[in-house]
Assembly symmetry: C3
Homo-oligomer: 269 residues x 3
């Protein structure tokens, strides 16, 4: 199905079924990710206690893992939830926040990926490439390393190797599963001035994967297109970070078939 | 005192004395609950460390417990704080977020209620009834099970049995202590699209109970009426989740005797 | 350099270099502090895991410690990060939220200050003085004890004794390193009705110290003036807590040389 029609259908399905998205995420974005999921029509739940984490995952339609403020306890909870998701066939989205910045984060992502099958790995360029090539050093969570053609090829190799979708955020996003490549031009630089923009996108990717059929790269591209498009529309209300983030939540709630048909900028290569 | 006059008087008392509300709550809503309490005129504090939790409770005029992102450490802190509150006669409000969704949550609520006297139990229909009838299964935190007359009767029985107020949120809220029943028609569905709306109501219930005399059911009904009314007024500014939540904080700050007199929809049955 | 020119230069440097500010802060304000830093042009990172905390600090240009929801694990992480910052010459800003309210908090601050050199101690009057005179008892985090001339003198003594800057928030702020005293008249009472206003100021102080030369008292005064000024400008949009906090984020993004030249109210005594 072409990506525009696919995006509309997936969004409709989210709004009809309100899939439960289980988030084990960082303290900074728990509130914003929950609001983003609620605004767009999904149903968020946050739970990290080892005594309940697998049971909660089994109620969910997608699992979102985010290592932004990780420690050992949370890492174990993520692996436990990821394994339950795997055994039930629930998609698992992983956001390797700050991978490459510290050894602990890089190793934590490797550990999660060694013990759980990840459906989509969603990060910025330096986070993703810190997991491939060890000679790229990230500075916290907001680096904007540019994506070269060679990098897209590398990402495709890693996607095939890991059996997952690689979703790389940047001025222009790139999503690949090794055989397909999607490029997304929606989105606006002001989003990088609002904390949790990337983490919110990871959560929204969870919502799209929750209602997807088998093509998780397409579901991820739809999530990126929809999310960036809501940013494009919100920036028409304001390009200042306070009022922008309020308008963005409104747009996640309002944006539907009409806006997607007119403004989606996702291309399949 | 009739509920309208009572609500006005309680709100005035909150704004004059700024009661300290000790919250041991979940990570998702810590910021929003603090802002909600500040906006309406109360004074929030968050503290969960076992080394200080009882001492902090002893400084407060109400204790709010919320199990939204519970783990074992936090559960112990809640019980410790609850027991101190009991020994000092400070009201304890419990929000059983997600009770019924996982065994851990249901058992945690039972454990808290076995070891602490709860003044008000505030949840949605499925959360509350998961604690009464074990055959109701909740889906995360946002289920909207409709409240039947039989359920109100059951709730009254549980209230008498536990010696607490049961406050059940829904399209129409119901508050009962077993002898009195209040119904609240204020509030708007958009509130369910903003994370922490229910948790914020629990915190506001804490503020009203902090200044109440002995009638905690009436204080809870006043809290529900005031909170829902602020939602009703905010939705006149916007029915979109981003701008709504901003307008809602404004209304918690602005709403006073005039709006309560005109628009409060709380009935005593 | 006069404080107005200094503030403009420091802000310009922040916006050019986007210094990484490592925050080990409380759960209530993680989101708001990150947004405040991003809006003004700095780059926030939150990390508290003992396995990475020192490594993260070594990537940062300032370390911000905030004990608002402290427990033993986080206290150890703060000390570990603080010691690394000391060994690298990175400024350390400490916010003793609720010091004086519980013994645990007061002792935690003393422990941090005994084991780490603090560059700036930023709190309200009762928090700061609970660390000097043990006969002042704070009520949570929002007490507004007035600052007397004698207190300023006492603060100066403590600053010299500890070798740090004391930055005391209040209706009129006071910053001193024992030899210099700055008074700041920018800021508006509505800021006390938004949670995390003080914690956000602590984070912004980190950003100014990150780009400062040696005069940390001047950098702190610049931070206070800039922050309060953004509040003054935001209140022109709205004096209600919801819309105010949105406008405040916008102002942190917008405010520059022109507004600082016109409206900064910082005096050097």
């Amino acid at each position: 199905m072409p990506i525009t029609a696919y995006t509309i259908e997936a969004l409709t399905r989210i709004r009809q079924s309100a899939p439960l998205i289980h988030n084990i995420t960082n303290f900074v974005v728990m509130n914003s990710s929950a609001n983003i999921l609620l605004a767009m029509g999904a149903s968020p739940v946050m739970a990290h206690c080892r005594a309940e984490v697998a049971e909660m995952t089994s109620l969910a339609q997608a699992l979102v893992l985010n290592i932004g403020t990780l420690d050992d306890y949370w890492l174990e909870a993520m692996i436990c939830a990821g394994q339950r998701a795997n055994s039930l066939g629930i998609p698992v989205i992983l956001d390797p926040v700050g991978a490459g910045a510290t050894r602990f984060r890089t190793e934590a992502v490797r550990k999660i990926m060694a013990q759980c099958a990840i459906t989509v790995l969603r990060g910025n360029c330096s986070e993703i490439f810190s997991l491939i090539a060890s000679d790229i050093k990230t500075k916290g969570v907001d680096t904007t390393l540019a994506l070269t053609a060679e990098m897209v090829k590398e990402a495709g190799k890693m996607a095939l190797d890991q059996g997952c979708v690689l979703a790389i955020s940047g001025p222009e996003d790139c999503i690949t599963d090794g055989s397909q490549v999607f490029r997304v031009k929606n989105g606006h630089p002001i989003m990088t001035r609002v904390t949790g923009s990337g983490c919110g996108l990871t959560a929204v990717t969870g919502a799209f994967c929750a209602v997807a059929g088998k093509d998780m790269a397409r579901a991820t591209a739809a999530a990126f297109g929809f999310y960036g498009l809501c940013g494009d529309l919100a920036v028409q209300t304001s390009d200042r970070p306070g009022t922008f983030q309020v308008a963005f939540l409104d747009q996640l709630f309002l944006t539907g078939a009409e806006e997607i048909t007119k403004y989606l900028k996702v291309s399949e290569i």
